[in-house]
Symmetry: C2
Subunit: 318 residues, 2 copies
């Protein structure tokens, strides 16, 4: 990157996503200056120790002064208040974006606080780990992952295009859609799976017939993967569920309906229904591996099989 | 291992578990001879090409002749018929075991067919990947994983002890408990998580508002991990659910009850209930990592963070 895409970027919030964006800007030269703002002095100090920006601020209004790109890297529930704080200080023509996992609610919360002279292009990089904080960020987080932009109707296409170029420079693939459609897609691929993972880990912890130490000891067979998901940041996820309520409740209703039908199949020993579903889901896994969205290594590469393990045509068990 | 633990082992079925046991016997010298039996000629041929045994049989009765350890490495639903086939041909004093993920039903299915002069010590190595077939096996599959043995009341402790030594020689940790308790533990740590994973992948595939290609494209955020689990062997899992019905239905009822309460919390914007659960589940994850049952690498090591990522004390987002 020879010419930076932006003169000055302001990052409000410097957790996993914010620090990963900061590393991309720094190491790939995407902007001349990076102002970092965060609420807690100890987090700000850590960001400075990690050399994530060029200036550090406890007041977001101060950070956005003169910035031509402002990205809110905050839990969804904090975006409205942050927009109110920075609104009057935004430079005319600035692009304002965010990284929230929910879009319609963030748009409603932020838009009233943004002046007419800025371009509001909400965004969501579908990337993350179960870790949080400024130390969790890394340069490759967005590589080969999708970032979804949900520009408001009437937004200048040139502003959207400029933000697309920014995200592509981090290695991300970019797609645009409406905020409402984004929220439905994410409800099924992310929000409901997380809720279910949190839920089963909670159910297991509350059993009397099986002790918690047994659950921990014998977790290797499926449950363990749920606990990884259920270790995700509590604040962020609380905000997601409260802010994508309608879509989550709709998808959850379908999930529960389908689960009730599986429960019935088990009760009535209807093996065919189970077998048909289990065969269908295997094909979807194959598509995801083919689409490059996951590795085909067994057990996420935790274990090392001897050779090509995607042995789809083989006979099961015997 | 200088003296083999057994003169002759017979493995009935040579899928992921069977072939991994065979590699352990071969590469660690745990037995003098290994007879392999499987129903399909092409699978048997593949086992021979991989040099997994010392003799190869389509008839399990032929394989068990003279064996002092017989392990059924079959889907749970096939164990009864296999026991009937081998029962009359077992050597007096032989130890008979299996690797099924369900124990009480397997005991009921097998025991009537086993002569009084053998030692029946059912077993379950809690190890596996989503792959199947004789090519999927590898030497390290059982290493640092638990194998549970559920000896029948009145079993000669010397026989159980001999099988414990065999499993420990593969690198496994071994625990004994009743078949009934095993089935409850596995229902919550394995069977219900698998059912839920299968279910949500099925739900996602059936949506009209979100296309299947969108589900595949944007799967990275949680859903993807469920698809790995939901790619597990359909026959094996159908048999597990049909054979551990009571325990699975009990755990499922609790799961659904808890999920209904989370659904209510979302509907009524009860953020505290969500936050409390999400904090509690994070602690359980930490215990699993501390117990050595999983790695703390972010995203199963799919992505590489810069430094120690288990940044538990850090502030979320902002």
């Amino acid at each position: 990157m020879t010419t930076p895409l932006f003169d000055k970027v302001a990052l409000i919030g410097i957790g996993l996503i914010g620090s990963s964006i900061a590393l991309n800007i720094r190491d790939r030269g995407l902007a001349g200056e990076v102002a970092i703002a965060t609420r807690r002095p100890e987090t700000l100090k850590r960001a400075e120790e990690l050399k994530l920006g060029t200036s550090y601020h406890l007041d977001p209004a101060e950070a956005v002064a003169g910035a031509d790109l402002v990205i809110l890297c905050l839990p969804v529930g904090s975006c409205g208040a942050a927009a109110a704080a920075i609104g009057p200080h935004l430079k005319p023509g600035a692009i304002v974006s965010d990284v929230g996992s929910v879009k319609a609610a963030v748009v409603s919360a932020m838009q009233p606080h943004l002046p007419g002279h800025v371009h509001f292009v909400p965004g969501h990089p579908i990337a993350g780990t179960e870790q949080s904080g400024p130390d969790a960020g890394f340069l490759e987080l967005f590589e080969n992952r999708w970032t979804i932009l949900t520009p408001i109707e009437g937004t200048d296409p040139a502003a959207t295009e400029r933000l697309v170029r920014f995200w592509k420079a981090t290695g991300a693939m970019v797609e645009t859609m409406t905020a409402e459609h984004h929220d439905l897609v994410l409800a099924i691929v992310s929000h409901v799976p997380h809720l279910i993972a949190y839920n089963i880990v909670g159910t297991a912890a509350d059993l009397e017939t099986v002790t918690q130490s047994e659950v921990i000891k014998f977790s290797a067979s499926g449950f363990r993967d749920f606990t990884r998901i259920a270790a995700s940041d509590p604040t962020m996820w609380r905000d997601i569920f409260l802010n994508n309520r309608e879509a989550v409740l709709e998808m959850l209703a379908r999930f529960s309906e389908d689960l009730a039908s599986l429960q019935r199949a088990i009760r009535w020993a209807d093996g065919d229904t189970l077998f048909d579903l289990f065969t269908r889901t295997r094909a979807i896994r194959r598509s995801i591996v083919e689409a490059g969205q996951d590795t085909q290594e067994a057990n996420f590469g935790r274990l090392k099989p001897r050779k090509d393990p995607w042995n789809e045509g083989s006979a099961p068990g015997e």
